[in-house]
Amino acid sequence: MNKQIRRLAVALLACYLALFVQLNVLAVGRQQELNADPRNNRQTERDFNRPRGSILAADGTVLALSVPTTRGDEFNYQREYPLGDLFGNVTGYYTFSYGSTQLERTQNDVLMGDTTEQKLRAIGGLFRGSDSTGSVVLTMRPDVQQVAADALGTREGSVVVMEPHTGAIIAMVSNPRYNPADVAVHDSKKAGQVLADLNAWPGKPLLANAYQERYMPGSAFKVITTSIAFENGATSLDRVFPNTKSWVPPQTTDPIQNYGGTVCGGTMVEVFYRSCNIPFAQLATELGPEKMVEGTKKWGIGEKIPIDLPAPAASSFGEVSDFTDQLPLLAIGGFGQGSTTMVPVHMAMIASTIANGGVMMKPHVVDATLDHDNAVLTRTTPAVWKTPILPGTADTLTTLMIGVVNQGTGRPMQLAGGIQAAAKTGTAQLNTTGPERSNAWIIGFAPAISPQFAIAVVLKGGPDDEISASTGGKLAGPIAKTVLDYLFAHPVPSGG
């Protein structure tokens, strides 16, 4: 019988080996797949009972923090957002049942203290009983953000302010906005209801439209068309465009008109600050599909904005094949109509590029990540994204944009204290028939010589409302002026 008993031992050993193999499959082989399953909320549950670091503004103002809850709460910590809806579209929210968004999502490891670097540094603190959570410091200033939000008021749209030479974003308002504290409540049912309401809201408050939404740019796009024309030697500052009321592009009999059907013309400088449409339609047509599309691609149009926030949108102009048999579409694209759509942050980057001698920096909101002892983990170093134009072209565009502020459509952006600004306005007409709907734009920078700040403002108009009835200069101009005036009056963050 001993032979059989020994064989039984081998058989049982084989059975247990099968168990061991399967345990390896579950705990190691399929670990990532199983942990990534949204129904597996064990990690989230643990995280909600652990401390989590703060998100801070450039001046140290706390934008998001975790506070210990009182006994009886489902979890040990509650996420709070002291400034309410002001930074909701930057910090995002942090919920148990509905995941997290924006920086709460992308900076999760730093905030939880889960990066390798933090874990290594935490070994020393193991016996001191301190936690290893990190914090995230932004480049954004809450005072400027507040000024921009106030200037925008309740209107749908966006204000983006950035440093041209670094790409650091100082303010970025996306209207309508929401308060992440409403979503971060521990009552999952309540949070779900808030999210459902926000999703049903027509202006999509959960979408940070400053970098996740695209708007037709209208005349603000003339900056791009002009830059491509100058880079290709297709125009000069002295070139004179005839005074006309309408012009028929190739491949059609339908004439193009100027804004408001006016007669418009003059030198390159004049048509730029008066914002005539026909000269830019002619420039785009002269350049042809290849050069226009190639030029827009140099500006990063068609690529996702390289911002350090999740799910950015990409501006869009079109491909060569879209225009070859559609030259009228290319013509109206030359002044930002038709199929052209731009992301507000991208427009601020375009203004920054001109201010920065033709070099386009990567936009960023995170300045640094810090460990529990406030020692720097990572610091964002300014990085070049693209070099779409030569310094000379940048100078020429600056000259043209100064004209816009001094003599043209951008006069509302003339700054206090005689600081010279450079700008381009835009009024994009969204409807060719039916009720009037338009977007009001202004992009620019100041001072015109050694610029410190670049700005893009967009207001989205509804059918026949106040915005649609006005122009970019009249509506967006004063907002840009308010924000830039404040910045020059308060160059240093005014305390938090």
Binding site: M1, I5, L23, Q31
Partner: protein
């Protein structure tokens, strides 16, 4: 009390290993409490004293009642029991209190078994009684007014304030019967009265009792929807037939019977069909019957290699984590390292049990040790395999680890029997003096007194 160096060394080893098992348990308990509450619980000290005390009681019982027995099997049970206790305490404070009571009862049962069963061979004489006891225990849950249905299986019995699972005890009674009957009849069965092809088939009248016992057990278990126990009994029967007759044909017959029975069960019973479907792919039934197994898979994945740490996971997410799914809770908090340790614990226990079987010289003891070891080894495999999706899930307790009085009590009785068999063979091999048992000594003392009185 006299002892030989071999026996003394075994007891020393046992004591050392028990201290290690108790230390590991105490450390784990402290960690689990720190993980959950960030403070060392004040009840830790009395808990440790009770735990160590009970294990020392079992150890002392071995020193007095089973001097020559294998020294590793009790500490292995203590370790598995200790880790299980920590996980139960971490899952539910109330259950931990009850489990402490069950531990006390189980150790008392262990000592009582060693006292009552002084000579393993004596048990063979009661084989028919064990068959009757086993059959009665199996039938109890089906008796109206006594049996109760929990979680779809009718395997519980309520007698006044006492609830228990008679199946846990029936398996020991049937193992005793199989061992006794097969030890007596194995040659008759093996020789085979007639041949069919390559198979020697025994005379029906020799096979009848055992076939009846087995068939009865399996049918009753199926009626109670206790698939795990049916599988366990089936394996026990096939293994004991094979080992006792030394004929591999019983393995083939067993396999054929099993395939046939499994197919019929699959065709006839919806709950079997559901189990198989969930085993093959639990994801479509996540919201329903597949929830438990998917949560177990999440638990293993979340635990990874090192586990989340005791008290730091969320094993309460798995329904019935403290009984059938305790292995998944271990996987989450102690990781692959912890689950592997449990597997090794069971493997070592199987090793000790089968070594006891090999060392025994009398067929009955050999078969009994083999049967009891198969019960522990297979039961652990069936439930661990079920939880990890190696085999379809059939609810059954993980021996020594799961929460539950019946299971703990039965397994400590089973352990005591293995220890008794081990001690018997040590005695037989002359490793320990073949002293009279206390009963025999008492009889001798009375006899001497009678003689003395008579001579006055």
């Amino acid at each position: 009390m006299s002892s030989t160096p071999i026996a003394a060394a075994r007891r020393r080893t046992e004591l050392g290993l028990i201290v290690m098992a108790a230390t590991i348990t105490a450390a784990a308990y402290t960690l689990a409490s720190l993980g959950q509450n960030a403070e060392i619980p004040p009840i830790l000290v009395p808990f440790l004293i009770v735990l160590l005390g009970l294990l020392v009681v079992a150890h002392v019982a071995n020193r007095v009642l089973a001097k020559g027995a294998d020294g590793t099997i009790l500490p292995l049970a203590a370790l598995l029991h200790g880790i299980g206790y920590v996980i139960i305490a971490r899952l539910s404070e109330r259950s931990a209190g009850l489990q402490t009571t069950w531990t006390f009862v189980a150790i008392v049962a262990y000592v009582a078994t060693l006292i009552i069963v002084q000579r393993a061979a004596d048990l063979a004489r009661y084989q028919w009684s064990f068959l009757a006891i086993g059959a009665t225990l199996l039938l109890l849950p089906l008796v109206p007014g006594v049996g109760t249905t929990k979680a779809g299986a009718r395997i519980w019995v309520s007698l006044g304030p006492i609830n228990f699972q008679p199946g846990e005890f029936a398996k020991i009674a049937l193992a005793l019967f199989f061992a006794g009957y097969l030890a007596d009849h194995r040659e008759l069965i093996a020789s085979g009265a007639w041949r069919v092809g390559p198979f020697h088939l025994p005379e029906l009248r020799h096979l009848m009792p055992i076939a009846f016992a087995w068939g009865f057990a399996v049918v009753v278990m199926v009626a109670e929807k206790d698939l795990g126990s049916s599988l366990l009994f089936f394996t026990l029967f096939v293994v004991m037939m094979w080992v006792s007759t030394e004929r591999a044909s019983y393995l083939v017959i067993g396999l054929l019977l099993f395939s046939g029975a499994a197919y019929v069960a699959w065709r006839l019973f919806d709950h079997v069909k559901t189990r198989v479907a969930i085993w093959r792919n639990p994801w479509p039934q996540y919201e329903g019957k597949g929830y438990q197994i998917v949560q177990a898979m999440f638990a293993f994945a979340n635990g990874g290699t090192g586990g989340t740490g005791l008290g730091l996971g969320s094993p309460n997410k798995i329904p019935v984590a403290k009984t059938d799914f305790i292995f998944a809770a271990i996987g989450e908090e102690l990781g692959l390292i912890g689950t592997t340790a449990i597997l090794i614990g069971f493997l070592l226990m199987i090793g000790s049990g089968l070594r006891i079987a090999v060392r025994s010289e009398r067929p009955f003891e050999k078969l009994l040790a083999t049967g009891l070891t198969t019960i522990v080894g297979m039961q652990a495999f069936i439930i661990i395999g079920g939880v990890t999706r190696v085999v379809p899930l059939t609810g059954i307790a993980l021996p020594f680890v799961s929460y539950g009085g019946s299971s703990l009590l039965a397994n400590y009785v089973l352990l005591a029997l293995l220890v008794r068999v081990s001690d018997s063979s040590a005695r037989h091999l002359g490793e320990t003096p073949n002293e009279l048992s206390p009963q025999e000594r008492l009889q001798a003392y009375r006899r001497r007194r009678e003689v003395a009185r008579a001579s006055k």
